[in-house]
Amino acid sequence: MLSSLESHHGELERAGLTVLAVAQGEPKHNERYCGSLAPNITCLSDSTTDSYHTWGLQQGKLGELLNVGVIMGGVRAASKGHVGGPVIGDARMMPGTFIVDGAGIVRYAFYATHAADHPPIADLLHAASLLGSASN
């Protein structure tokens, strides 16, 4: 997801969104990974996963962590040159993506159905396009 956000950060920002990534681990891990994979994305660290739980995210079950979709996601990542390294954080924690407006109201919520599940960028751009009409 991080590389996809980096690839599309220009479109997302033109749509009015500031893009933030919350990652597990310490700032030194964020500096290493975000700095190389997503230099245009603001990365914030959570060394406890407390924020994940607060946002309704939870650890995946076996079928959510290892299935065809996850394997295919790994193949796609490897084809782009992304290879795995030591795991930083809770490998069972599932990802999620949200859009929040300037009043702090959730306008879009995506909870992954498996570990490699991410929202289409088109869905994020569409949700961003609705922000103006929602505030009118």
Binding site: M1, L2, L5, L12, G16, L17, T18, V19, L20, A21, V22, A23, Q24, E26, P27, N30, E31, Y33, C34, T42, C43, L44, S45, D46, S47, D50, S51, Y52, H53, T54, W55, G56, L57, Q58, G85, P86, V87, I88, G89, D90, A91, M93, P95, G96, T97, F98, I99, V100, D101, G102, A103, G104, I105, V106, R107, Y108, A109, L124, A128, L131
Partner: protein, 44 residues
Amino acid sequence: MAARLQPGDQAPDVSLVGITGQPATLSEYWKNGPVLISFLRHFG
């Protein structure tokens, strides 16, 4: 366990740490306008 958030819910603010070690809250960002927040699975 917190319930899943739905569109229309108030986003919960949380305290995090920036890449240089400075404390940060999510509300610091959304008070300046809409934000996309992606909670990543893990590094590795």
